[in-house]
């Protein structure tokens, strides 16, 4: 059935370069320059897909990014397959494989097509209304609904292509390279502005570049020839950058725009290797000129969706640009002069035109006269009332319109055709303008929304500003540019412009039919199958707001975002509801203007580059020890060190036992370290910690707890006094950055009078912690010059010393409850320090332990972990840490909040220890805690925050928060699990060595 509808050589198509491709498994041919749509049309193929709801056959409708129907699945390869690609935008290449979507088993025979016959019982809101009841059945319905719907298939394997992001800064950005954009680019660049011109198409010149009729002339040249010279000129301008195949997706405030640049999608597969596929441009422009053009409106009449019905401008472009006839028996149907431009183009190319149907009655237009001169029948004051042809239009019926345009009269005339070009006038493409926050106004004379109030330094010119004719463009655009760019003169003064276009239009949003509306299918949104009938139904059911009607009928909610039919939806609502178009407003246009691939959005942030990660200076040693790592903030921390195929549990049990029995070693480099200096350093610490700091002696360490102003625990850590006015504070690993930020905030904004300087030194030091009964023996070998006796170096004290020539800071502090030392050295000596400790500890079976063992050991001692045992609702009192809250200090951050009516409640959740009845049963962290299983609803008292099996106590231990837990010591509670109940007893959270004997062992 393949035939050749290539009519005449076009200079935009290279007929010496033949390309083969597959569509739905069949091989077709096209030429370099073709889109998938133009190549298929050249082979006589219109039917390319099925509609979403009724599965009606649908054909190519447009020649651009507004295409609602011809959306296809690209590639078969499961990693590169891409759904929802518009056939009108795909430039064909050797090896292209595409297939129809939303049809099964095939586009020619689609089982879902039965929905079309069921359509009387599938009105707007059908799914909402029908499947809401009974609610519990939704899961069952959903499976079938999802199976029969769906637009395309997503890839099942990772995307192998390369994407990237790029920042661009420019003085002037021009969006759209049609005639207005070209004029703007030349004017801006020639006046010294660093200019960027982008267009979504692969060529410059918009729709003017293929305009071939001498009805449109500039300075006595056909407009396309004139524009071609302009384009050749701007290509030579140095401070003008031009990017084609670049679609602006989003226009944000402050002239920040996102654009997608397509780099390889048009190349043969073999030429794409190692090249970036798409680039997300992040453009910051001082000034933005929108020259985005306009989109032709369809006409809304009964059965206006059959394959073979296209926009009139698309029929013209296929003929003029691609040299393709969309049909052999063409009819045009219009309410304005645009269709006659198409008719003239077709006539020039020798393409047969059966008739032109015009809504208007009396029109004086040179274009119409030209058509009538060539014996083409023009039906004036007529409308199409119906069409026929299931998979391709084959006939239309027309009738005369009544004076008010609401009814049809007279007798029906049938005209055979295989293509119907429709034109309902033009809609300015204001999507990007409104995305930027711009406000529109409605122009009554031709029923269009045009830009009114600009929110940033920008302007809209040309047809996106409502200047549709060549005359208007060439007189208004230079005027607008002069004002916007603040220049005196352009190259476009005193141009001689000839245009035969008559602006008159007969706008009827919903064209009447001889049938009642209930029996017709006038589609408004082609992709989502929303008809004028659905919109009227929504209004009858009480919907008034345009945003509500949109969601109820799904008008404008497809991947095309209703670029074609949204205006008609508004028109029909305003007519039916009797409101004014201007007052009704529009639905919100949201980014992206055309869909973006996930690859473009993500750019290079995939795989190991998904997020940055930080390694400690000792990382290599952990790798050598075969550590498993866990992410703590951005840090990779050694989690546990499995030996000989040990499970995590076994490794942690072994590490925990070794640390208490002999010696353990931990990389503590990730803890936040803040250097604090200044004459007011002690006063500052007094204000940020809950406990007192003034009396801390030089060379001593103290544990501190930091609250938020609301009294809730924020961070904790040990701070050491290095000198009279010099401290080093440690924070939790995850809290380092926010704690520094908080301290700076208070210093700069609340207490600027304090003489305090803060420096983050987390990355400057590597920290090795050695703990256990043999730790002292090990560190004294590593640092032989230091006196480690308890008298000289007691618990909670600090020494400045050296290992050979290397300076180091040693603190005797403990997070495990064991005798323990933390040695800090300059980061680049960290690895050698670790190795030295391992060497010295060999005879004591020194055992590297990770974060999991660290957590277990501290839980045995009942030490909290901020963020695990606390959330943002725990005060120090809730944690049973009253001892750390100074009663004497007049003020500190959060003090006042500790006796608010809410924080002094007795029944707040409080931290307690939990012991299971069966000592081998380990609780699940996060499990709920209850007291009474019989009283419904069961009252939740709290939850388990930390839980481990302790190898040292040989039993399960847990910490949890329980409402009023402080006064429940010894009480029995229940942990309800899916398949059982676990009995627990509330206990002291300190499970091991309450007397702290081990610290000095």
């Amino acid at each position: 059935m393949t035939k050749n509808l290539r009519v005449k050589t076009s200079k935009f198509i290279d007929e010496t370069y033949k390309i083969s491709f597959k569509f739905n498994g069949t091989t077709y041919y096209g030429y370099k320059g073709d889109t998938l749509a133009s190549a298929l049309l050249a082979s006589g193929l219109h039917l390319v897909g099925r509609s979403f709801k009724y599965h009606r056959p649908r054909g190519i409708m447009t020649a651009g990014s507004e295409e609602p129907n011809a959306i296809v699945q690209l590639h078969k390869n499961t990693s590169r397959t891409e759904p929802n690609v518009r056939a009108t935008e795909i430039e064909i290449y050797e090896g292209l494989e595409a297939s129809s979507q939303n049809c099964w088993p095939s586009v020619n025979f689609d089982i879902g097509g039965i929905n079309n016959f069921l359509s009387p019982i599938l009105p707007a809101g059908f799914y909402y209304k029908t499947f809401m009841w009974p609610a519990s059945f939704w899961e069952k319905y959903e499976y079938f609904i999802r199976k029969s719907a769906g637009l395309g298939k997503s890839p099942t394997e990772p995307d192998p292509d390369i994407y990237e992001h790029k920042y661009i800064h420019c003085d002037v950005l021009i969006i759209g390279a049609g005639i207005s954009g070209i004029i703007a680019a030349k004017t801006a660049a020639k006046n010294g502005y660093k200019t960027l011109l982008v267009d979504e198409k692969p060529y410059l010149g918009g729709s003017t570049i293929y305009q071939n009729s001498d009805h449109f002339k500039i300075n006595n040249q056909i407009s396309s020839s004139w524009l071609e010279k302009e384009i050749n000129e701007i290509k030579k301008i140095e401070n003008l950058k031009i990017k084609t195949r670049t679609s602006v997706a989003a226009y944000h405030g402050y002239n920040f725009l996102l654009a997608r640049e397509n780099l390889t999608d048009h190349l043969p597969l073999g030429q794409r290797k190692d090249k970036t596929r798409q680039r997300l441009l992040k453009i910051r422009a001082k000034k933005v000129i929108s020259a985005t053009g306009s989109l032709e409106r369809p006409l809304i009449f009964n059965n206006n969706d059959r394959p073979g019905i296209l926009l009139s401008s698309a029929v013209e472009k296929y003929a003029n640009f691609y040299g393709v006839a969309c049909g052999e028996k063409n009819v045009l149907f219009t309410n304005n002069d645009s269709a006659y431009e198409t008719a003239i183009s077709l006539y020039q190319k020798g393409i047969n035109i059966e008739a032109v149907i015009d809504n208007r009655e009396e029109i004086d237009s040179k274009l119409i006269k030209e058509i009538e001169k060539n014996n083409i029948k023009v039906y004036k004051g007529y409308t199409v009332v119906d069409t026929s042809g299931y998979k391709r239009i084959n006939k239309i019926s027309i009738m005369q319109l009544s004076k008010d345009g609401q009814k049809v009269t007279g007798s029906k005339i049938s005209i055979n055709c295989d293509c119907l070009g429709i034109s309902g006038g033009w809609t300015p493409a204001v999507h990007l303008f409104t995305q930027s926050g711009g406000k529109l106004k409605f122009r009554d004379e031709d029923q269009v929304f045009i830009p009114n109030i600009y929110p940033s330094d920008q302007i809209s010119i040309g047809s996106c500003n409502g200047d549709f004719t060549l005359n208007e463009i060439l007189s208004n655009v230079p005027k607008n540019l002069k004002e916007f760019l603040n220049i005196k003169k352009t190259d476009y003064e005193n141009l001689e412009v000839n245009s035969s276009f008559n602006k008159s239009k007969r706008n009827i949003w919903l064209l009447p039919s001889d049938k009642i509306i209930g029996k017709t299918k006038p589609f408004v949104d082609y992709q989502n199958d929303a008809t004028a009938k659905d919109i009227k139904l929504a209004l009858r059911e009480g919907f008034r707001s345009i945003e509500h009607v949109k969601r109820y009928t799904t008008t404008g909610m497809g991947t095309d975002q209703g670029k074609l039919g949204n205006m008609h939806a508004l028109g029909i609502i305003s007519e039916t509801a009797g409101s004014k178009m201007g007052e009704l407003g529009t639905t919100t246009f949201r980014p992206p203007y055309t869909p973006l691939t996930f690859g473009t959005i993500v750019g290079r942030n995939v795989g190991e580059y998904f997020d940055i990660f930080r390694k400690t200076p000792i990382h290599e040693c952990h790798l050598k020890n075969k550590a498993e790592f866990e992410n703590v903030g951005q840090w990779k921390r050694a989690w546990y060190y499995p030996q000989n195929g040990e499970s995590m549990h076994d490794a942690v049990q072994r590490e925990s036992k070794a640390a208490r029995d002999s010696a353990g070693i931990l990389d503590a480099s990730t803890l936040g370290k803040i250097d604090i200096q200044g004459t007011d350093a002690s006063e500052f610490l007094n204000r940020v910690y809950t406990n007192a700091w003034s009396k801390l002696a030089i060379g001593k360490c103290r544990y501190g707890l930091m609250l938020n102003e609301d009294g809730m625990v924020y961070d904790d850590g040990v701070t050491t006094r290095l000198g009279e006015n010099h401290y080093i504070m440690t924070t939790t690993t995850g809290g380092a950055a926010t704690v520094l930020g908080k301290l700076e905030d208070y210093l700069q904004t609340e207490w600027p009078e304090l003489d305090v300087y803060l420096t983050s030194v987390t990355d400057h030091y590597a920290t090795v912690s050695v703990c256990g009964p043999n730790s002292k023996k090990i560190v004294s070998q590593v640092i032989p010059d230091l006196d480690f006796s308890d008298e000289n170096f007691p618990h909670m004290s600090f020494k400045n010393t050296k290992i050979g020539k290397i300076k180091c800071r040693v603190m005797r502090i403990s997070f495990t409850g064991e005798h323990s030392y933390e040695i800090n050295v300059q980061a680049n000596y960290g690895k050698s320090l670790w190795e030295k400790c391992m060497e010295a500890g060999k005879q004591f079976n020194i055992t590297p332990y990770g974060t999991e063992t660290m957590h277990l050991l501290r839980a045995e001692k009942g030490f909290i972990i901020v963020g695990q045992d606390t959330d943002a609702t725990m005060t120090p009192i809730d944690l049973q840490m009253d001892w750390i809250v100074s009663k004497k200090k007049y003020d500190f951050i959060g003090k006042r909040s500790l006796y608010r009516s809410d924080t002094i409640r007795e029944d707040r959740k409080q931290l307690v220890g939990l012991l299971t009845e069966n000592p081998d049963e380990v609780l699940e962290e996060g499990a709920q805690i209850v007291a009474d299983m019989n009283k419904l609803p069961i009252e939740m008292l709290g939850h388990v925050t930390s839980s481990y099996y302790s190898p040292n106590l040989k039993k399960s231990i847990a910490l949890g928060v329980v409402r009023g837990g402080k006064n429940m010591m010894g009480q029995k509670l229940i942990i309800p699990m899916e398949d059982k109940q676990i009995n627990v007893t509330v206990a002291d959270p300190v499970f091991l060595d309450k007397e702290n004997k081990r610290l000095n062992a």
Binding site: G253, F256, P455, D745, P752, R896
Partner: protein
Amino acid sequence: MFVINCPYCGEREQSEFKAGGEAHIVRPKQPTELSDDQWAEYLFMRKNIKGVQFERWVHTHGCRKWFNVVRDTSNDLIKAVYKMGEKPPTK
């Protein structure tokens, strides 16, 4: 994403900054003298205006300085920027 004119560094992308809520809320000098209601007023109550709002920002990924911004929350336009301790612009 907007551009903020840091009073110390000049114009930078918003992503370099962090917002710190409403400006000119002074921490009471003597919190312990306050009633629960007065303390709650300081702690919790914020205006959250649609329109011109005075707010705090910090140049986190730059000079790390806090400063004040006058921003119209309805369209994100920044009317003025001034340092901590300086008087807010009157018009």
